[in-house]
């Protein structure tokens, strides 16, 4: 199948090598000024758009986090400037280390498992067999469900009292597990649900990445007597790397900000055991009768910093890979 997400990033990273560095000499030495103006003309709509719809909300959020807001000053104005007080308070809160750790565990585990399962499935479906098309299409269905529904369904499946999963465990003689209500399992439960939601995306992208690898390479290697594992190790894996990188990056982007899934399934609880920075920010700003806008915004900004760091790591990593 080719929702060719795939050819895209692939051609991106493969062909882009030289052009990605803007200062590199290019073929268009002719009329550089004209090209520059044309470039900005083409870019202008997006830049205006970014400023209006990203910069402004972001500016507001930073502003919120730097002032000492009460509900009264939120409405009436005149909140005193508090510098980094909100950040200090948030960093000192007992929830912070837990939320940070949970965010990292949630993100990394989800990413790795989604990717691994997605890749295994892509390899599995890459070999055509009867019904493979249909089955692969069916795998995409979870992607189409509104998140609020999939999250509710999972909290249903994992409910402590009357859940199917526990009924299944009882069938094989195991004790029921308090998936959502014990501090030990709640984070595991939301991770499982998140992996499930992420599998279709990983499958689609990685599958199309596999499709783009020329078949002749495999055939040649097979003639040379390379086994399945060797072909994967020396052909598939290296050639899939650009696609893998983009998959992981997009996965990271969407995993880091997951909040509705966790909020619907556990509300971050019990006692912060599944609280991530995203749910914590929401809880501070929205999840209480008395909103704490300043702290909520501060946590949100910390999350964005984390995202910037992750994005920077990715770019640095890509850069080094290209150089080598």
């Amino acid at each position: 199948m080719g929702i060719d997400v795939t050819r895209t990033p692939r051609s991106a990273t493969v062909r882009e090598a030289a052009p990605a560095v803007p200062t590199a000499p290019s073929a268009r030495r002719r009329r550089p000024g004209g090209a520059r103006w044309a470039a900005w003309a083409f870019l202008a709509p997006v830049v205006v758009y970014l400023i209006a719809f990203y910069a402004y909300p972001l500016y507001r959020n930073v502003e919120l986090s730097l002032r000492e807001y009460t509900v009264r000053s939120f409405v009436q104005g005149g909140a005193p400037f508090a510098g980094l007080d909100n950040y200090r308070a948030v960093l000192a809160a007992p929830t912070f280390p837990q939320a940070l750790l949970n965010t990292l565990v949630f993100t990394v585990t989800s990413l790795v498992c989604q990717f691994a399962v997605g890749l295994l499935l892509a390899l599995f479906f890459h070999r055509h067999f009867p019904l493979s098309r249909t089955l692969r299409a069916l795998f995409l269905v979870p992607w189409l469900l509104p998140l609020i529904v999939s999250a509710s369904t999972w909290s249903w499946l994992l409910n402590s009292e009357a859940s199917v999963v526990n009924a299944g465990l009882a069938l094989v003689g195991a004790d029921p597990v308090n998936w959502l209500t014990s501090p030990r399992w709640s984070l595991v439960s939301v991770i499982i649900a998140n992996i499930w939601i992420g599998i279709p995306f990983n499958l689609v992208v990685l599958y199309s990445g596999l499709q783009a690898i020329p078949r002749q390479l495999h055939e040649a290697a097979e003639l040379d007597g390379a086994g399945g594992w060797q072909r994967f190790r020396w052909i598939t894996w290296p050639l899939l790397r650009p696609v893998s990188a983009i998959t992981l990056l997009l996965g990271l982007v969407y995993t880091l900000k997951v909040f509705d899934l966790i909020w619907i399934m556990t509300r971050g609880g019990p006692t912060d055991s599944s609280t991530t920075l995203a749910t914590w920010s929401y809880r501070l700003g929205f999840g209480n009768l008395l909103p704490e806008f300043g702290s909520g915004a501060a946590v949100g900004n910390l999350l964005i910093l984390l995202a910037v760091a992750a994005g920077g790591c990715y770019i640095g990593f890509e850069h080094r890979r290209r150089l080598s």
């Binding site: 051609s11 803007p22 083409f42 990203y54 067999f129 009867p130 795998f139 995203a278």
Partner: protein, 273 residues
């Protein structure tokens, strides 16, 4: 000769895996037929034994206008996303303006900002512009989920277009806009389909923006239609799940269509140099 047998063995495994993967979806369908008083029965019924069609009756009676709104919002988001992102992708990939790298980094980060932070800012802007609870307002907001992603995809894709193709058009006297329109866009069809599909899916399943910005309007998307059954003190689960089932139908159709469209692979060959 041995291939088919091996293939069928794979089919068996494939069916099992698909079954495992789709079990939650099955459960959703199961619940959509379950009577209110049975939903928490322990152990749960694997099949809706005393099934009811109440959920679907409620949906067909009340939800169809929401499906319409969601379609309009989805298509509008696709259109807006393409209009904004395709030229930008072209500029970043082929015209390489100074500062392009910075813009790309900003786009990357922009994607990671949680929707809820954006939503609060939007609410204030929208309230003043008077576009709360309107379809265009929602389209604009939903497009923010897709635009950064779309620009990155277009950039990646278009940098794969051979420079010669563009140079040839320029030499023939076409200006850059014309080149973009009649050379670059047609060969980027795969990227367009990809971006459209994602933009549509995200707009379709968006809940955060819908509830913040269109919560009370006459034009509500289907995700809020679902929320209608999650009342203040009560939740009608069979209706919620029935709505979800109905809401998945258009997206499933779309996925099947887009799959075929791309599978035709008209342009895939053209792009490969």
């Amino acid at each position: 000769m041995s291939r088919p047998t091996r293939g069928w063995w794979r089919t068996g495994l494939g069916v099992m895996l698909t079954g495992l993967m789709l079990f939650p979806v099955y459960w959703m369908i199961n619940v959509s037929f379950t009577r209110d008083q049975d939903v928490r029965r322990s152990p749960p019924h694997l099949f809706p034994l005393d099934g009811t069609l109440d959920g679907y009756r409620a949906v067909l009676g009340q939800q169809l206008p929401y499906v319409g709104t969601s379609l309009v919002v989805g298509l509008g988001t696709v259109l807006l996303t393409l209009i904004l992102a395709a030229p930008a992708g072209y500029a970043l990939a082929k015209l390489r303006p100074p500062g392009g790298g910075a813009i790309r980094f900003v786009l990357l980060i922009a994607q990671m900002i949680p929707g809820i932070i954006m939503a609060m800012g939007f609410y204030a802007i929208y309230l003043n512009l008077g576009v709360l609870n309107t379809v265009p307002g929602l389209i604009l907001a939903d497009s923010t989920i897709a635009v950064p992603f779309a620009v990155l995809i277009f950039t990646a894709f278009m940098s794969g277009i051979p420079d010669d193709l563009i140079q040839a058009a320029l030499v023939d006297g076409a200006n850059r806009l014309r080149t973009f329109w009649s050379v670059v866009l047609p060969v980027s069809r795969n990227a367009i389909v990809t971006v459209s599909l994602f933009a549509f899916l995200w707009a379709w399943s968006d809940f955060v923006f819908a509830s913040t910005l269109a919560g009370g309007g006459a034009h509500r998307p289907i995700t809020l239609g679902i929320y209608q059954y999650i009342g203040n003190n009560n939740q009608q689960w069979n209706a919620i799940m029935a709505t979800a089932v109905v809401a998945s139908i258009p997206t499933t159709l779309l996925l099947v269509l887009a799959q075929r469209y791309v599978a035709a692979g008209v342009t895939a060959g053209a792009v490969k140099d």
